[in-house]
Symmetry: C2
Subunit: 341 residues, 2 copies
């Protein structure tokens, strides 16, 4: 199973909206199809979105008919604008765009730059895989034998194209021979926990219990959870973390019950330009994700909804942020700045 | 729209599992059908369960062919046992059984006791309606103009056969001319918020925004909510409250954000025999309620689940308990004991 695979003139992605019922691969042969796959969450998870964006830009570049470098770079600019409008919260997307733009500024004719862009996308992909593998093994040290771990949404191989972040840590702890159990929040509205996290953990032979999001507090209060581990879509300078809606609630409930709350993310998820979580843009998605489940209406016609896809967890609730460059704790402001050196 | 209606030889109930798509009434002509309707949540909500139980026992008694009082009372005992096994958490069910048993001990022949039981069930029904109307108007004083109120699950007319508890207060505040808005948690697994609360509030012309359970913390943290009001399935002596799973999380999140958290329930929901919430039995329901939504599978085959239908909110998170006999605050132990005088 590969989340994203580059094949010369096309990008193969595992359609995450079809899981767990179908393991279905999309063949994307132009960049607009990649933008669409990101918007529709066919590929999702902050690191995977970054990788798909990089390959998507490379694909768009490869398909360009531009004769002059100037014309070509204008096309690249247009392609990058399409990607930057795809989803607003995961910063990895913007990091990937920045790196691909920089790579496109390299010397050489159109053909050479096309090759450079493909190499850069592959490099971004490999770096993400290495980063998540590394942070998973670092983070696994925090998981003790017999731990029961609560996680939210999906931050596994599917979300990262590599080892995973939150699930990477869990999988690494399992591979180290630790006896562990996982509680997975189903993660409404789009059920990434029910559909993807359970599927990934069951394939890895890790015991997982599916619960609704509303049950997490109950199990935390009853002493059933030893730690919470989640991924991240964007982390500000001060450690404030945007992640899937519901994460903030878990963090508050974990603190209230003296349970450690860990965020796992590669350094590419940190936005060093933002002072705090207040500055992180929160994506508001389609109301139908709330009023419908799998195409089936669950609420009265005409009902109002709100559908913020993410929330922000203030750093004071976070016990540690686990990156490939080390495990960071309070004071985040100073500790995080060391990571970008 | 009537949640429960007694008609001489049968009980009519609005099938709450068919809402909001269909307004469908069940005609129940024997007590086992009533037990089944309670188990399946076709009738639900602690006060409504109590009323349905009372009528169900009256119905079973009415259908009895017993010739002697002794034989008849044995049948009543058997009927009561069926009801007491239907659902474990809502104490109103057990209160109703106790009162109906007591009524069956009255003097007279089988025919007279049958009439007594019907009168007692009607009395229980009327008392619940009066209690919820009264507590709704009392509680409405806590709702100020321009308030946005968060509620969980469904504690409206459907749940109570009368005015409602949590929703009763909201509806009463609206009737007083206060400008109010409501955020309704969808309330997985069975979506009472999405299906029933939105439906009831839209019919009353009250502005309601449907959110997933995981979004409540986000809106609390952003200052969008002025108070939280929920119902209850059982309240212990010390104020600890069992209510729909997810309530505890809301209470913690409300306290963390300095938002008042109110529980609304008739005195019949208080179990004066229990010292604390630790003693409240929590119903564990069918795993399919978690793995399926509306009959559609949302998780891999063979996944483990947990499905506690309720959680317990310790009294320290509760700003006030609103009953028909008054609004009670800390210290609950002493304040609540005054209610049963």
């Amino acid at each position: 199973m590969k989340t994203i695979e580059w094949q010369e003139d096309k990008l193969i992605i595992l359609d995450q909206t079809a899981l767990p019922h179908q393991e279905f691969y999309l063949e994307l042969s132009n960049y607009l199809e990649v933008v669409s796959a990101i918007k529709k969450l066919q590929v999702r998870g902050a690191p995977a979105i970054g990788v798909a964006t990089a390959y998507g830009i490379a694909l768009g570049a490869q398909n360009s008919d531009a004769d002059t470098t100037k014309e070509f770079l204008n096309e690249i600019e247009e392609i990058c604008q399409s990607f930057s409008a795809a989803r607003p919260t995961a910063v990895n997307l913007f990091h990937a765009i920045k790196r691909m733009k920089l790579a496109s500024q390299s010397d050489g004719n159109v053909s050479l730059i096309k090759s450079t862009l493909i190499r850069e996308a592959i490099k971004i992909h490999n770096e993400e895989k290495e980063a998540t593998a590394h942070l998973s093994h670092l983070g696994a040290k925090l998981i003790k034998n017999d731990f029961t771990i609560l996680t939210h949404c999906n931050a596994g191989p599917l979300a990262t194209t590599g080892y995973g972040t939150a699930l990477g840590i869990i999988i690494a702890a399992g591979e180290e021979g630790k006896k562990i159990k996982v509680f997975a929040d189903e993660t409404r509205p789009l059920l990434q926990g029910a559909r993807l996290t359970t599927w990934e953990l069951m394939r890895k032979g890790i015991t997982v219990t599916l619960i609704t999001d509303s049950m997490a507090g109950h199990f935390l209060s009853r002493g059933k959870i030893d730690c919470v581990v989640v991924g991240a879509d964007r982390i500000a300078q001060n450690g404030d973390t945007a992640n899937k809606i519901g994460t903030y609630s878990l963090a508050v409930l974990a603190k209230e019950n003296n349970v450690p709350f860990y965020v796992a993310a590669p350094v590419s998820t940190i936005d060093f330009s933002l002072k705090s979580g207040e500055d992180i843009p929160i994506e508001e998605r389609n109301p139908e994700e709330v009023t419908h489940i799998g195409g089936m209406r669950i609420a009265p016609e005409g009902v109002r909804t709100a559908n913020p896809a993410f929330d922000v967890t203030p750093h004071r609730y976070i016990s540690a942020i686990i990156t490939e460059k080390g495990i960071v704790r309070e004071p985040y402001q100073t500790q995080m700045s060391k990571l970008c050196r």
